[in-house]
Amino acid sequence: MVAIVDYGVGNLFSLTSSFAAIGAEVTVTADPLVLQEADRIVLPGVGAFGDAANKLRACGLDTVLKELAANGKPLLGICLGMQLLFEKSYEYGEHKGLGLIKGCVRPIADVLPSADYKIPHIGWNPLIFKQNNALLSNIQNGDCVYFVHSYYAVDCDESVIATAEYGAELTAAVASGNVYGCQFHPEKSGTVGLNILRAFVELKENTAC
């Protein structure tokens, strides 16, 4: 079973529907026991980093997620959910993340070469593969996925498995052991997106390390 973490951030309708569409059993929950029983966990999120991080902490889910990740349970962060996996973010100040992946989150505007590149980075952009990873096993280098974001992950070279070109190379997907992240929205990326979710559902559960 896939458990989508419900911490009051964003709309989970499409995400839930996309897992249902690939035949996965899916539940939306904030209950630590349900998260513990799930085979894998999805951390969604839209909105501002600081606000979302506070909400996770307020319901104690930050500790729960860290424990489950440390025990080897596959965890996939999507969009802001991926950004939360990093150590910190510089979105309106400085905010602490879960620290499950080394690196931090900074404004895209910092690296854009000209005003021709609009913020947010919104639309379909091809993935550039950087490392072989099970998460990408059902798709091809160059497949397009749908992005909507104004911040991106930096200083995380070791975990970057795919990027997208937008004036600069933006971190698009990351993996570190059993912890995965997509900056784009697989649930809005058509067949390619569903194939990524399918790969996540088919991952073997790691043993504790």
């Binding site: 952009n125 091809p126 569903l194």
Partner: protein, 252 residues
Amino acid sequence: MITKRIIPCLDVKDGRVVKGVNFEGLHDVSSPVSLAKYYSDNGADELVFYDITASSDGRRLFTDILCETAKSVFIPLTVGGGINSVADFDRVLKCGADKVSVNSGAIRNPALIAEAAKLYGDQCVVLSVDIKRVDGVFRVFAKGGRENTGMEAIEWIKRCVDNGAGEVVVNSIDTDGVKQGFDLPMLKAVCDAVSVPVIASGGAGKIEDFITLFHTLPKVDAGLAASIFHFGEVSIRDLKQHMADSAIPTRL
């Protein structure tokens, strides 16, 4: 490299798509769910559902259909028509819409855009503007293009973007339905004035109109059309292949 988006727009009334012909493999052309799935499977980058229902029963039917569509179509969905309040945003976002387009609702209540952007983020709020030249000046029209508001269009768009509109759909009343191509001078004026994505609407009659649009105005992000797709005059697959062959960044 971000790709240029092709967006079919479906007008929905009392739960049915208003216009269209039968495509091969599509049994019910007036079912929004089947048509949306068909377009998604055939290369549409995004879909706009436009609710032209007046009754509250029809409105309920619309949200039911939206939910059903979002269960089987996994590309971005924008919803417009009858959006007058934050409660309307909430109603359609809960049913799987990703973006909400406001037009007359923002003219009646200019605070709506700022309110919605604060709650749901700029990326969620799309400003849709019907523009017509009156004595050589771009004017904003309301009520489906029937009423001249007297407002100058570029100033209006700038104000809405400052308030948090994350994208602008520019619908030229002057070229709409004429099928002689998009309104390039109008679109250029908007692209020069704002830094958010601009979506061109009104005037597309054939594949070459989209090629001309993206070649002439590389700052335009997307082309939107309705009847030429629904009547099969232009197939999205052919269109996108032509775009790719013409060196326009395209998702195939």
